[in-house]
Symmetry: C2
């Protein structure tokens, strides 16, 4: 196995430009150029091919116990820090995937470590409650100081769950209950409803549906999977429900050169939404809700315009259905706002917003009319995990103190400018640069080219994310600074040159 030595780039200095912002900062908020995670390496350091021999041995060991075919490499989590993940072979890699976009503050953030070092917190970790029956005292205050402190506009209600899929499953269930209650119009529930649902029959079991979009990803449990359409690997061999599907816009880039085409694309997709409502409602398979990602992430970072989402909200409302925004991947700050849909200036609050990943806990915000009328309907044993909320509370404090959403904006601008420049210079290998904040992506022209770019970046100490058929997505944590963007862009340029003249 060939060992590869990688020359470090001199990027450990503070980024001077961003310090200009210092004067505009509110009191108590740190300058964005501060070292956010003390002790972070000054750049990647690659000693072996990736995965290296130790990771390969560990993958073989794990494969004796479970299928291990999707593993990139094993990690040395103790030595990982900030934006740098260290693998089992000692390679220090600038991480732009961050555990599939789920690490808000990178690795071993000192403030999170303090949460664990505080003995008062230890009991929370060893006494996991059944939250919907025996919550711990202080729980309402904890929800208020964490999840509700960053709630989307108009939201006062939040329910925790263990993961993204459970959050979407329960968002769908909240939608079905709400729709059925509207249909009932106050009429009491009949004995026939109670008895029929026990054997999966109507009228107790409902023929309701959730509309979703081609290319979307909403998770891999059965209802979620029915609304997922990004890649066949997720769906093949499993049953699916007959629920409506509409097209999601596929824009031409650069956007500014294709305004008319892209507006027409919006109209085409929205017409499909209207049509699906009509077909399914007419057939009695009433569309109770529409679920949509603000940016289709797994599906290839597919963006749609604010106008598209505003019109989608109008059509959904007109049809008496709920709009469910799946912010599992887009939420948590990577777009420069806690919720990506806050970039869309929607006229009304979204009915339900689901989250997980960077929020550390799964769950959803929902308008008051989506509250269950009865216990045990939106329910499971644990209903999330208070220790994740405890950590989230600290994350949100750090985001505020260190002005990290501003950092996302700055680093995102640096990334986007650099990516656009590279795309102009290497048009055969980089197209359709797009992004909000650091939630950025570009296409490679083919799956084979994407895989080559991905592999070479990894060997040079950059961990990007693949998505869709030919896309590289960037999902750094919120402590990703312009200096890290510089390192990444320099290495990407180097890789593109290697590919161009092998």
């Amino acid at each position: 196995m060939a060992l590869r030595k990688f020359t470090l780039f001199p990027y450990c200095q503070l980024n001077a430009v961003s310090c200009l912002l210092n004067r505009q900062l509110p009191k108590g908020v740190r300058c964005v150029s501060t070292v956010l995670v003390p002790g972070e390496p000054s750049g990647p350091c690659v000693k072996t091919t990736i995965p290296g021999p130790k990771s390969l041995q560990m993958i073989a060991d794990l494969d004796k116990i479970q299928f291990a075919g999707s593993i990139f490499y094993f990690t040395d989590i103790k030595n990982s820090l900030g934006n740098y993940i260290v693998d089992a072979d000692g390679n220090s890699i600038l991480d732009l995937l961050t555990q599939i976009s789920s690490l808000p503050l990178g690795y071993n953030h000192p403030d999170l470590l303090k949460v664990l070092q505080d003995p008062d917190n230890h009991i929370a970790f060893i006494n996991r409650p059944a939250l919907a029956i025996f919550p711990t005292q202080g729980w309402p205050e904890k929800l208020t100081s964490s999840l509700l402190s960053v709630a989307p506009k108009g939201h006062t209600q939040v329910t925790t769950m263990a993961c993204g899929a459970c959050s979407n499953e329960n968002a769908f269930k909240s939608t079905f209950m709400w729709y059925r209650n509207k249909q009932r119009g106050g009429a009491p529930i009949t004995d026939e409803e109670h008895s029929s649902c026990l054997v999966n029959k109507g009228p107790g079991s409902t023929p309701f549906t959730i509309m979703s979009f081609k290319g979307s990803f909403h998770g891999q449990t059965l209802a979620c999977l029915t609304t997922t359409h990004s890649r066949s690997v997720f769906k093949l061999d499993f049953p699916a429900l007959d629920w409506p599907i509409a097209s999601f816009p596929r824009y031409k880039y650069p956007l500014e050169d294709h305004i008319k085409e892209n507006e027409a694309e919006d109209r085409r997709c929205l017409a499909e939404v209207e049509e699906q409502f009509e077909i399914y409602n007419k057939a009695g398979k009433f569309v109770a809700g529409v679920v949509v990602e603000p940016i289709q992430a797994e599906g290839g970072d597919v963006h749609a315009s604010p106008e598209f989402f505003r019109e989608l909200q109008r059509i959904t409302k007109k049809n008496g259905a709920a709009l469910i925004l799946d912010e599992v991947q887009t939420g948590g700050g990577a777009t420069g706002k806690y919720w990506c849909h806050e970039h869309f200036n929607l006229p009304d609050p979204v009915d339900i917003v689901t989250f997980s990943k960077k929020m550390l806990t799964g769950g959803f915000y929902s308008l008051p009319e989506f509250r269950p009328q009865q216990g045990l309907k939106i329910f499971n044993t644990w209903m999330g995990d208070p220790t994740k909320v405890l950590l989230l509370e600290k994350v949100l404090q750090v985001v505020k103190r260190d002005n990290l959403l501003k950092m996302v904006e700055l680093s995102g601008k640096k990334l986007m400018d650099g990516l656009k420049d590279l795309s102009r210079r290497f048009p055969q290998h980089m197209q359709n640069v797009r992004g909000i904040g650091t939630f950025c992506a570009f296409d490679s022209g083919s799956q084979q080219k994407r895989d080559e770019t991905f592999f070479r970046l990894q060997q040079h100490g950059i961990q990007p994310g693949p998505c869709g058929e030919q896309t590289i997505r960037l999902r750094p944590s919120l402590v990703f600074q312009p200096k890290h963007a510089d390192i990444f862009l320099d290495i990407l340029e180097k890789v593109l040159k290697e590919i161009q003249t092998p």
Copy 2:
């Protein structure tokens, strides 16, 4: 609000009888009469009605944020210890529900606290990995020393998940893949399969089904909910799939007086299983698997005979389907074995065994032929949580060191003997006593009577669990000792006398 004073019972002494076992114990294993959680109260102590005024205020506070109608009371987790949960009003309650059967060692077990106090463990809690892409080094060893060390007979493969519902959803998916691959017989996957599944159509999306039993509970996400049939509250207003359902035996008690009737009941239910296989397979809605609880827990602690399960395994195998045992509630030691189905002497290993709750992590064991052929099919962002496995590893050490499965057997015998005695003395209020280990239950004759027994037990400082329509279930932790059984039985007797002569 009336305050109630409760006289403490003198049950702090060690149970002398159980010490007789001392001589039979293997080296290094503690005598079961040892104080298992030092500092535990000697009995319940009730100062207010339950829920008390502080809990009621907290429930009102939480209800502003989310529906809080299923909450019993808020807890003072810091002051809870061993078998005793302390509520927000300072009531110390002997807990026979233990967070819906999910606390293996009760509250604040000193050995679990040590896991949190060890600084080497802190990093695991603040760096949650995406386990199917970037596992932490040492992960295969951790799975081996924890979950695989107590694997059911014949199992070498384990996959972690976040919760019980996700475990069952993925057990179903593993079953569908396995069934489809058998059907393919090695033929390659076609383009049509890939493209059709993306829009939820065949042949890529399959018409396969999972058979389940009346009265069962397998979780509340959509596929799980389709197989759940215990109570209408869980199912009403939600869509359900057309999947086969068979009857689960309903025995007459005492078992020894109704052998013939109960054998006939087994035959009736198994005939329904055969019939459902025939109907659904003939209709092309192939039954890929049968999911069943070893004891229907939420549905009212409904037991079936080992003979029933052995015959069910035979019929399932004959029909080319997989047998999935949902041990989410029965697993983890409460029956005196780690897996309840180990009491059934099944001729072959079960295809898939799902778990959660007392195992702290969700997940499933599955035979090697159920491994996916490809990555990302049994997949989500986190794939469980290594910190739960870290705690589980310690739990399993304590169970072994303190001989807790033996303790379950002893305490269970004490419980069952006492319950049977009370049932004979109060036949109008207690019937159908049943149980394995401490996984015990009895019926009250009606929902109203059950609710009264439940309420009065709570007011006397006992936290039982309700299930089914008229059942009280007991779900103590594994540190529940004969002395705790004595306390419970004395208070239950007191309550039954109160009810009999109000």
